[in-house]
């Protein structure tokens, strides 16, 4: 109980800091909206030319795009917590180690709550606005009540997987002391492979089948497709199973590596 309270406090502090920048949030929303609009019109051009080659319904694609824009901050693999990276490189990690709370769960919570606060602020207005755009360009309702519940569950799981993946950046930084390169490389890979540039069903079929098994597909790919019913039944259950598997695997990997790293850490006074 006591422990939960500590995590709750971390979440609250981060959230309050996040909602201070309302103008930035507004500008961000405009950007998200424009990107969604660009993508949808692009796919529409492809859809008009050859609807048979479209691997999902156009409606499902439009929902996919708007959800992607709305939950951008939750799944973005670019945003890292500057505080944590600074603590690692400037030696503030000494204080972190002194706190009466495990360092992996603390960083995880801090990183995760920064994402949630950024998302809550941006997602809700965007979802409301896009729901009012007339069909077929607007966000449609979930395929059925079960799909909606599935969406919420997989959204949470996917966000946790993304956070666990991002934790590896901090852990590697403890070894290398140079966050930029790792950060860029991690982002470059996941952006393409997680389907945030083009949805995974649009990849060549053989490649898509392999990708479905990777942690990248366990991020945003699952919830966005469950929402519109594009991913349902046994395939959806399999995807949930993979999400749970990757979440456990990535957390375990991160925690073990971090313990290794900290064993070697020497705090150099100052």
């Amino acid at each position: 109980m006591n422990k939960l309270k500590k995590y709750g406090a971390i979440l609250r502090i981060r959230f309050n800091a996040g909602i201070q920048y309302r103008a930035a949030a507004l500008a961000g929303m405009a950007t998200q909206f424009a990107w969604g609009f660009f993508s949808i019109t692009l796919y529409q051009a492809f859809y008009r030319g050859n609807p048979q080659a479209f691997p999902m319904t156009f409606q499902a694609l439009v929902s996919y795009m708007w959800l992607r824009q709305a939950f951008f901050s939750l799944f973005s693999t670019w945003n890292t917590e500057g505080q944590i990276l600074n603590a690692i490189t400037d030696g503030g990690i000494a204080y972190e180690l002194a706190r009466p709370i495990g360092i992996y769960p603390m960083w995880f919570m801090r990183h995760f709550s920064a994402r949630i606060s950024a998302t809550l602020l941006r997602a809700i207005p965007l979802l409301i606005v896009t729901a009012f755009i007339p069909a077929p360009y607007g966000l449609s309702l979930p395929a059925n009540p079960a799909a909606f519940v599935g969406f919420l569950v997989t959204l949470l799981l996917g966000a946790l997987v993304t956070a666990a993946y991002m934790m590896l950046i901090y852990v590697i930084t403890v070894f290398t002391m140079q966050p930029q390169g790792v950060r860029m490389a991690f982002n470059a890979f996941s952006e393409l492979l997680s389907g945030s540039l083009i949805p995974i069903p649009f990849f060549p079929p053989a490649l898509a089948r392999i990708l479905e098994l990777t942690p990248f597909a366990a991020m945003s790919n699952v919830p966005y497709r469950v929402y519109s019913g594009d991913l349902a039944g046994a395939a959806a259950w399999q995807a949930v199973g993979l999400q749970v598997f990757w979440l456990i695997a990535l957390v375990a990997l991160g925690a073990i590596l971090l313990r290794q790293a900290l064993r070697r850490t020497v705090i150099q006074g100052g």
Binding site: A23, A24, A27, G28, A30, T31, A34, W35, F37, F38, T41, L42, Q44, A45, F46, G49, N50, A53, P55, Q178, Q180, G181, M184, A185, N187, A188, F189, E191, L192, L197, I198, F202, F203, P204
Partner: protein, 258 residues
């Protein structure tokens, strides 16, 4: 101009001090740009053509915009990062020097690692120029060069607007990305395929289609109107309102005092 060359040399030297880091960043830049190339490839591979444009023709558009973008990003980076110059007070120092302000801001940051994208654009050009089925006559080569050069001007104009707005807000405003990064992404395909609304925005607000789509019609023999040569030059006029906004901003500049 001599001063600018000096800036260039200084930045090149300082970035070459960290050679491995430089190479790594250039490489990741390349990978990042590669993902957008891959998505164009995957989509064209699935659908074969879009609005009658073939994969190779799309690549020609893709490379010309990417090249323009990467060049202007490399050199106009100082404007992109301008909010830090304002908020930490460095701009006061720039103001008191007896040299052109724009030149100094341009010279304040030149990131050669951004050329990772440029390398990619060159590779794509090497493939697309022979493969797109265009018969390359001198006028078409000239037009392609014009497309890239005036593209650099348009993107630089956008970076200048971005910087000029910092005079009023101190923070950088994310929404200009709609036109910079957004313009780059939209420009990956002939802009007409996005439909009327977006085409109008990228013609009358930000003249990106003048440097990409219309000259492209001439290149691929879809039109033989010689006036299309004038369009990239007209697009360069976009720089005038950008510079006016910049001047207006400089005049209204109040130091943050830090």
């Amino acid at each position: 101009m001599r001063l600018f060359c000096k800036y260039l040399k200084i930045h090149l030297k300082s970035q070459m001090q960290y050679r491995i880091s430089f190479l790594l960043i250039t490489m990741t830049q390349f990978i990042v740009a590669f993902s957008s190339l891959a998505s164009v490839f995957f989509l064209m591979n699935r659908f074969h053509e879009v609005n009658g444009f073939t994969f190779q023709e799309v690549l020609l558009c893709f490379a010309s915009i990417l090249m323009a973008f990467s060049l202007s990003e490399c050199f106009a980076r100082g404007f992109d990062r301008f909010n830090t110059v304002i908020s930490n007070g460095t701009f006061d120092r720039i103001m008191v020097r007896p040299r052109n302000i724009i030149l100094q801001v341009l010279g304040s940051q030149i990131e050669f690692s951004r050329l990772g994208r440029l390398v990619q654009a060159i590779i794509v050009f090497c493939y697309a120029i022979p493969a797109c089925g265009v018969v390359w006559t001198p006028d078409k080569i000239l037009l392609l060069t014009l497309m890239v050069l005036s593209g650099v001007v348009v993107f630089s104009g956008l970076f200048i607007i971005h910087a000029a707005l910092c005079f009023f807000t101190t923070e950088g405003l994310e929404f200009i990305n709609i036109f910079t990064d957004g313009g780059r992404e939209v420009g990956s395909y002939p802009i007409s395929i996005y439909g009327d609304a977006i085409m109008k925005i990228f013609t009358y607000v930000v003249p990106l289609s003048l440097v990409q789509y219309y000259p492209f019609l001439y290149l691929t023999d879809r039109s033989s109107n010689p006036w299309l040569f004038a369009l990239p030059l007209i697009a360069c006029l976009f720089l005038i309102p950008c510079l006016l906004l910049w001047r207006f901003g400089v005049r209204h500049y109040r130091s943050t005092g830090s």
